[in-house]
Amino acid sequence: MREILNMGRRDFLKTGTLICGGLILGFYLPLRESLSGVSNPTGGPFMPNAFIRIGTDEMVTIIVNKSEMGQGVYTSLPMLVAEELEVDWSKIRVESAPVDPAYNHTEWGVQGTGGSTSVWSEWERLRKAGATARAMLVKAAADIWKVDPGSCRAEKGFVIHNPTQRKISYGKLVEKASQMEPPKSVALKEPKDFKIIGKPRRRLDTPEKTNGKAIFGIDARVPGMLTAVVARAPVFGGRMKNFSADKAKAVPGVKEVLQIDSGVAVIADNFWSANKGRNALEVVWDEGTLAAHSTSGMREQYMNLAKSPGAVARKGGNPESVLSNAAKQLKAEYEVPYLAHACMEPLNCLVDLRSESCEIWTGTQFQTVDRNSAASVVGLKPEQVKIHTTFLGGGFGRRANPQSDFVTEAARVAKVVKKPVKVIWTREDDTKGGYYRPMWYDQIAAGLDGKGNVIAWQHTIVGQSILSGTPFDPKADVDPASVEGAKEIPYEIPNILVDLHSPKIGVPVQWWRSVGHSHTAFVVESFIDEVAHETGKDPYAFRRKLLVKHPRHDGVLKLAAEKSGWGRPLPKGRGRGIAVHESFGSFIAQVAEVSVSAEGEVRVHRVVCAIDCGKIVNPDTIKAQMESGIVFGLSAALYGKITFQNGRVEQSNFHDYPILRLSEMPLVEVHIVSSEEKSGGVGEPGVPPIAPAVCNAIFAVTGKRIRSLPIRSEDLKKG
């Protein structure tokens, strides 16, 4: 594929260029808008795309521009192409796209994967890619037969002439089709004619993920490659003062010990030597301004901030006066900690830097940004830098780093060592490496009238901005990612105020699967439950009454309640909790069934999940992503926290940053609402509702309200 991108732009636009005995289909569509602050080397309002390669061997290669990190895009995106291309599914294989504007995200203007956007953003472009290819193949066959293309159809990799039933395979049409002009417009199928979209399909990448063949970034190798482990400052913002390399260099296998921007790199023949070398290294750090930073200090600061009015994210009616004059006021404080992504594959990046080129192998979600950042570090033009996107051993947002931290650091190591080098982060490096989900502190209040109606809602949020300084920086007082899910609550409340404090703290933060929703859903859906109980109403019925203008919320809530047997008796000691939340264009309700032991240990037995994500592509992927989001959210609710003492992160590995184990896995049932609405995302939206559903269930079974995550067994202990 790399050769294709070396072609001139004009060749590319001409489309139908024959390369390697295959048809490369290029076409272009307007880009909605470019992001400011991200340089785009070619520019221009129209950009070429190249997603399909059909070989004379009948193999159909789909070049996928999204990173496969478990969410199933290497299957769902080929399904979009295959639906229109009318290809034999067994002939499809997938290649990861190189970095090129042709592969930019349709909305972001850079190449990247995130925000649960892959399927809906490619919904039209990839179907058009498939339909255009099919039209050219049909035309090619019709020309050979000297018949009207309208009398031919395409089916399972063949063009068939309807009146005579003659057929030619796609592979045999490659050369002819390559000389065709692409049609100016193509008709896409009506949903009723879909054969692939909307039906369960097994993942294409499973075989290689069960036999050890799948290549992740950490598996990439080039001849003569060295391995580096980096000693980084123990405190964020710290700098290396001086170091002694003697003991590190004495470790067999260690080749060099070199200073880089982020610390000291120990470079060796292999990981074990490099890591031993780093352990032996003596470094004196200037710990910087965060040397005394602590979670308790931050908490105090946040609580103080919440006392004053913040930047207004939403104001409707007269919230302050209605609240203070309400017949009844409910007030609560909620808090959640920093969280690490903890991908199973620790961060890593392989860089092969030459005088005129640079090749990078890594599992990234942010190709254009990484390529441009690496180019600037090594002093090459962006087009001289190639990124090979491998499989990602989990991403969850961490591998879309706006500063390209793990890529630029590896580029800096390559620059000083002057040999191909792979930087591997240990689990401890990864856990302590920052770019966390921010810690949040919330104050929330509701005013009730004499009849128990909610007449006012006031929500103050304190926490670091995620988008500030990224390509998505809103350059405004209110970072939308800080208030998403809190600002646009679906409940019908006449007087509402949501305000925000965004303190600047030197701890690097980043999007973490479901971003702001990971915190706001917990606060809003727990507090609405508190209000329901306060008024003596059933929390399910109470929500429905307030959801009159939000039928999709109401629809999933009702479905989850019905399927879970809401209101029906449970075995003794079990309770149910419900939550509903919209994020990334999808609507999800979850009912959790929970018990709490005398020691305060929480056990989640069953989760019923209802999702309305509009039009669906692969229902099995949706189910898998709901299971996945629920587990991810449960790990956070039950265990997840990153804390600071003396400026240092207190957690390091899975013993002190635990994630859910198989024995703790609840039975998860997923129910998908049939819908013709625009597709929403599925990678992230399964996460937000689970923490409140579980905590609401804990309240149902113990009468104790959890307002701080992770849940602590000592708070739930009997007696």
Binding site: T210, G212, F216, M344, S628, F654
Partner: protein, 157 residues
């Protein structure tokens, strides 16, 4: 020199005796299917078989397996349990990101070798040492049951 028998093939490796088997497999031999996740036997991504038993290769010094029979994910498909597990994994679409799955499969095969008809509690007990951040646990349970049924009916296809 240390002699290793990996997936039926003999290797002589010249590495420090304390080097964990994991890194010898990955870097010296080039079998990258076995994964690094934690380095402390906490996550199980590095699980391989030594004389048929599942061990955590990230904390196993290579000198301790000198001359012993090592099976990795690359070789497990040659066993009847391995083949059944791989087929069941495909049928139930278990993996997501896939990074932990070598460890999951190696542990699941070890379970089936000693307990061909495991119940849910057996599966929970055997598999809880292998972490999956994507949350494929429900499918792992289902696929182990499927593999056990396949084995009972005379093995994988």
């Amino acid at each position: 020199m240390i002699s290793l028998d990996i997936n039926g093939k003999k290797y002589e490796v010249d590495v420090g005796p304390d080097t964990p088997l994991l890194w010898v497999l990955r870097e010296t031999i080039g079998l990258t299917g076995t994964k690094y996740g934690c380095g402390m036997a906490l996550c199980g991504a590095c699980t391989v078989h030594v004389d048929g038993e599942a061990i955590r290769s990230c904390v196993t010094p290579v000198s301790s397996v000198d001359g012993r029979r090592i099976t990795t994910i690359e070789g497990i498909g040659k066993t009847k349990e391995g083949k059944a597990i791989q087929e069941a994994w495909i049928a139930d679409d278990v993996p997501q990101c896939g990074y932990c799955q070598s460890g999951q499969i190696m542990e699941a095969v070890a379970l089936l070798k000693t307990n061909p008809k495991p119940g849910d509690a057996d599966i929970d007990g055997a598999m809880s040492g292998i972490l999956c951040r994507c949350g494929t646990y429900q499918r792992i349970r289902r696929a182990i049951h499927r593999a056990a049924r396949m084995m009972a009916k005379g093995g994988a296809k």
